[in-house]
Symmetry: C2
Subunit: 179 residues, 2 copies
DNA sequence: TAGATCATGTAAGCCGTTACATGATTAG
DNA sequence: CTAATCATGTAACGGCTTACATGATCTA
């Protein structure tokens, strides 16, 4: 059981989902392609952590809708109690910035600007997710508590927003340095 | 040429370094083990981007001190001008938080506390790096400009500090949510 | 005397990306 | 008419981790 497998189980605590949906939904938390997810789902099914129903469709391809079993839920609870791996961050930009003195200010600003645009788009996406769960929630988000179904997603969006704001502050600060 | 290879060249713009030192020095920016680095250095040498001198030592094992060639410096400049890959972040904690409602508040706080301690230690390390380059620098750090040798490292420490502070703010906020 | 540090290297295996493969519907 | 979306799967390859291998000095 690798970390991604637990991630798939985590998503299934909220809803039943297809492999296709899981591939999309896990992206904000863990980058993975469908070619990695489908074999893992087959393994999880063999272990009895998930089960699926085959749903034939006429207009679109047939699909398998996966849901979490009781065994799967127990495995998740045990996983949460285990020590958590340290986060892994690999950012090509950091390596470029380290030796940014090799190029002139104009080129450096170009590199930075590309990343700033990326951060702004990401911020926009998080804002949209925030609006979406605001609509879905029965209570105001600030009142959500640990056992409310949207709690985890809500606090993760907060985390992501805080970090992206830090990134944008740094971008602004860098622009003053490169003028 | 993968990203890590360029990262090794980046470090060599500042100093000549051994494979052992490169392995340690690249950790804050790109996690990689020596078993990955040594073969890459051999490749970089074959491509003519780095060269090394064999330095025999009596008390410690002999070492190879690598330095950047003119070809290597040119390769770096071209790399900087290419579009930058998006950052990859894989954090097991995010997956756990998504389904944190499966456990009680006490257990959730334990998971969070473990991570908070990790963030605090990281913050301490960045503060030390900051002090070190403050000592090494001929000018006050705020006056460093793009072509100063410590500029890249200085702005990277600023970036890391801003992000870690965001992480710590989130941890504090989460504690209020779980009380 | 056990473990950390310095120092380099190879081998096996898992993790993740890219590419191959199929095929219907819908939007621009 | 082309591209995107839905939907699942396999194969090949490159990236990264763990383990194997060696060996001296220094610290607790």
């Amino acid at each position: 059981m690798n970390t991604l497998s637990y991630g798939l189980l985590s998503l299934l605590t909220r809803n039943s989902r297809t492999g296709y949906e899981l591939t999309q939904n896990i992206q904000p938390f863990w980058q993975a392609k469908h070619s990695q997810i489908y074999p893992l789902l087959a393994q999880l099914e063999q272990k009895g952590y998930v089960e699926f129903v085959h749903v034939p469709q006429s207009d679109k391809p047939d699909k398998k809708v996966y849901s979490l079993t009781d065994n799967g839920r127990e495995a998740l609870q045990q996983w949460i109690a285990q020590p958590t791996d340290e986060p892994v961050v690999r950012d090509e930009l950091a390596l470029k910035v380290f030796c940014i003195g090799l190029v002139n200010k104009e080129q450096a600003l170009k590199v930075l600007h590309e990343r700033e645009v990326y951060y702004q788009k990401k911020k926009e996406k998080f804002a949209q997710s925030f609006e979406r769960i605001k609509q879905d929630s029965v209570k105001p988000l600030e009142e959500l508590e640990i056992h409310d179904p949207l709690f985890g997603l809500y606090v993760l969006i907060q985390k992501a927003t805080l970090k992206i704001d830090a990134d944008l502050v740094w971008c602004e600060w860098m622009k003053t340095k490169l003028k």
